[in-house]
Symmetry: C2
Subunit: 425 residues, 2 copies
């Protein structure tokens, strides 16, 4: 619960001072963007906006929480009264979930009074910084897997609720399954999983464990064969389940060598249709390195839930316009441009994206092949119906096809699509 307290203290002290001095009602525009991509990345992936809109809709200050803030001296009586009647009545526009972004892309724009917008800062950034980081890492893994399915199994390596959001973000990015049951329950994402080493260790021997699993789950299951000796594990698996066994899983060792040996052994046992699933500290580079091996599915855990080296997207939430006037912090990078932005992505006739044009307080020239990147999320406080997670997933797939091919390389390089930000005239 406590959605409204997922907020930084300073937002309420700013609110308090602004209510007192009369600036709280000034019309403001806040913008979410990244100054740069994480080291080595060529694109970012917008993720979490669907989750965020549910949270914004429910962002209210219950009586008990207001009383707590009042007692602790965080707010005074006037601010407490204001919070008690708060709901967001402004507008939110932004890039679609599953859209790509680059440095300077205005991925979310929140407009309304200063007061109603400023107190959403932390929630907006927490959701987007987390989910975008996971989705970008996951998208690279999907590219590296070259069409082979990937299952997300990293829940245990991240905060228990971040795990659910990670499952959602990696499914958006093209993963096929998650191990996380809450993600299945909340978002309808397909879940998968069969057994851990503990299940084998629990039994008197490996054949007993395999027999039990097959009896309970059928031959369309995956047997984990590396608890003791892998070759013997595979022989035991086929002896118990027969060549109709759906899959074996390898979770340790040199997966490249083991996948080859396992394939040969399975084939020699007649189990030519039995799949090989590999897991164990796989990131996009490890997945890419297994491209030539007889692997049928990848399990990715730690690397995806920690963003594979970039655990946060580095997005910021900046005030860019007050009462129609562009504002900008002067000590920043000179390139920062104030004002509400409108963004389009320009494409070649072939469909390849070539440039993103972001115009402050205006609208870019619209040519054939241009695509408007911003959509309404909330209008005058009312949520707009959003695409489904499946639709967002398809959108990302299409976006990744649209960027120049070198944008999909795993190596470090420039952003796949350059962004030109045009200041207000």
């Amino acid at each position: 619960m406590t959605i409204a307290l997922l907020t930084d203290h300073y937002e309420l002290t700013m609110l308090r001072a602004a209510l007192q001095d009369g600036t709280a009602d000034r019309r403001c525009v806040f913008e979410v963007f990244a100054r740069r991509l994480p080291t080595g990345r060529r694109y970012g992936v917008v993720a979490g906006t669907g989750r965020l809109m549910d949270l914004v809709r429910d962002f209210r200050f219950p009586e008990e929480e207001v009383a707590h803030l009042r007692e602790r001296g965080v707010v005074d009586d006037e601010t407490a009264a204001w919070l008690s009647s708060y709901r967001f009545r402004g507008d939110i526009d932004g890039y679609a979930e599953g859209e790509l972004y680059f440095p300077g892309s205005p991925i979310l724009t929140v407009s309304g009074t200063f007061a109603e917008c400023v107190i959403l800062e932390t929630l907006v950034l927490s959701v987007l910084n987390h989910d975008c980081a996971i989705a970008a890492a996951a998208a690279r893994m999907v590219t590296a897997a070259r069409g082979r399915p990937v299952i997300e199994m990293g829940s245990r390596r991240t905060h228990e609720e971040a795990a659910v959001a990670s499952a959602r973000a990696s499914y958006l990015a093209g993963f096929e399954y998650t191990s996380n049951l809450a993600a299945g329950y909340r978002y309808g994402i397909p879940t998968a999983g069969t057994a851990a080493h503990a299940f084998t260790l629990l039994h008197d021997d490996e054949p007993a464990a395999f027999a039990s699993q097959v009896a309970a789950l059928g031959k369309q299951t995956t047997l984990l064969v590396d608890t003791y000796d892998i070759s013997q594990g595979i022989r035991n698996a086929i002896a118990v389940a027969g060549p109709e066994l759906r899959a074996i899983r390898l979770d340790s060792g040199d997966l490249s060598v083991l996948a080859q040996q396992s394939r040969e052994l399975l084939n020699s046992l007649g189990a030519t249709d039995t799949k090989i699933i590999v897991s164990g500290d796989l990131d996009e580079h490890a997945i890419a390195a297994l491209a030539a091996e007889p692997v049928d599915m990848y399990g990715a855990g730690t690397a995806v839930v920690v963003g594979s080296g970039a655990p946060t997207a580095g997005l910021v939430y900046k005030l860019v316009e007050v009462e129609g006037r562009p504002v900008v912090k002067r000590s920043e990078n000179k390139a920062t441009v104030g004002g509400r932005k409108t963004a389009i992505r320009r494409h070649k006739p072939t469909g390849t994206a070539i440039e993103e044009i972001v115009v402050s307080q205006g609208v870019p020239d619209h040519r054939l092949g241009d695509r408007l990147l911003q959509h309404s999320y909330v209008v005058a406080g009312e949520p707009v119906a959003l695409p489904t997670l499946e639709e967002s997933r398809a959108h990302l797939r299409a976006c990744l096809i649209s960027i120049p091919w070198e944008g999909l390389k795993l190596s470090a390089g420039d952003p796949a699509v350059p962004v030109t930000v045009v200041p207000a005239v």
Copy 2:
């Protein structure tokens, strides 16, 4: 809610097979430990156990969630019935929150039937892997700060609920404040914060913003002086608030140079008691580099909530004993030892820790200066009263004093205290 679904699919398929084959009731012991510390680290910090015990107490499968699992085919009728009546009735023992750990330390031991223990795996690991990672990073920052207070302000850079847990873990590690209001509400942690650049930009000019803030919050506030020109910002701050101003904050630029210049300017304006707070991408190394500068408080954000290079603690939950018999996955590191462990830490008469002794299925010789490291968390399903967060915080402070001095170095090195694991006879 949905605590019980913060679980991996395979835990329920293992449960299903074990219920069917009769092994579900075998008495088991699962152990949480780290095979290694993150690169560069000399100790780990146990954090999150208090939070975990609340979740374990409430770990139940509501009817609607069981129905969902049944419909999706994750469980059969027998397993569904078992889940509906589930509550943990076993024992949990472990290291105190705030205790240090090293590779091989059995930081948590969960005992009971296979069925009741196996389904806690993901929840246990999610909480501990996250909170331990944050606490370890935060503890290094506190060491680097050499007694100067540190405020945690990283909520926006991590998942919204991970933010609350991060605030708790960094307070445990010795931070003085957090920006996160939910952490104040749930855990009683002191919160702090005053204003962002947006507050200055909202106003017609900087003096107007400062005057508003001082009018609302008094002179015991912190003015953010780097929105435009820092020197002018400091002059404006003192002109508005007088030399009684509590503090200024610098959030950008070369903090080393700026802190010196700001101190000189403040002194020249008679504001010799006005503090200087610095923030902006500070990690333990950046904090250490500011040791000689006139800085009074540090704000740490991104680095602490992403574990400063180690976003997950790498803890595992392994079955180590079945019906009194030690078990171990053979293909692992030979050093892995099965069986329930008992751990002590041995100290010199001066109080310095010199060794941790971990004995499988036995009790270490107890000498003068030895300290038993494990305590009861849950006995036969009943939670044991835990230390308060303040007590755990004091415990960590004492533990950090007890390790050899080189254990506190920020550079890479061996674990501060060696662990000897003695197999069962």
